[in-house]
Symmetry: C2
Subunit: 130 residues, 2 copies
DNA sequence: TTAATAAACGTTATATTATAACACTATGTT
DNA sequence: AACATAGTGTTATAATATAACGTTTATTAA
């Protein structure tokens, strides 16, 4: 039942670059990478990024203002995101842990707020940097 | 045994404003608020903010690039932060839930990373906006 | 108590991240 | 065809954050 998303030209270009990248990419570094392809302005990047986020194809790492491709097939719409971030090498890894996700999705704040979405960022040192 | 932190002039000014605020404050809105007190440059704000964060007096809401006072007496150093954020009125509420905090602090990623710190942001509609 | 050291300050300049606004183009409905 | 919707390209500018440099204040330890 999953609808195949058709991406526009710019969206595809931006997604390709993010997917190929080893780590999180910044909007302007994406921009510099695509100038040969005729994309010249930040707007074009940010518009594509916004749509890709909406579709769940990529995620924004808020603490770094950077973007990563979604690696977890089950988050077409990103209501529950978790990442581990190495403070030394900047590596970012998406955590997909059903238990964690369930635990947080069902977490309810005392003050009567019903959550629609969460984002969790863990920080530490990755294996290599330890 | 808890050491009383002495704040510098600028740190105190910035902290006072953040503590008095009803919601999260942006760096430049703090700046505009303190120009009468002789603080003129963003650097001065950002320096104070950095120190206040180090001390655990305030937290940065990453998804909003804004700052809130710490309301939970037990996080002198902020290794474990969680917030609920209203998507409509922008209200931010610090969550201090021992269970949640314990659960996340002891969460270990499979890939061998040991976490030092986490930040969790929940989004939804607060009581009023619902 | 003074010399040394560290922390904070003030300032100018600039880098980085993100959006506004407007006109145009492609695509897909009724 | 007429209309709506999503995407594009472009110029300009807003908002967020840091670099670099010299000075001042506070702390510490000889």
């Amino acid at each position: 039942m999953t609808q195949v998303q058709i991406l526009s030209r710019n969206q595809q270009i931006v997604l390709d670059i993010i997917e190929k990248a080893k780590g999180p990419l910044k909007a302007y570094s994406i921009l510099f990478n695509v100038q040969k392809k005729g994309i010249n302005a930040p707007q074009q990047i940010y518009r594509a990024l916004d749509k890709l986020i909406e579709m769940g194809k990529i995620h924004k790492i808020e603490s770094k203002n950077a973007f990563v491709a979604c690696r977890s097939s089950d988050c077409e719409i990103s209501k529950a995101t978790a990442f581990s971030i190495c403070e030394s090498c900047e590596m970012v890894d998406e955590i997909s842990d059903a238990k964690l996700s369930k635990y947080l999705s069902s977490f309810n704040h005392k003050k009567g707020m019903k959550f629609k979405r969460f984002n969790l960022e863990f920080f530490g040192l990755c294996k290599k940097c330890k």
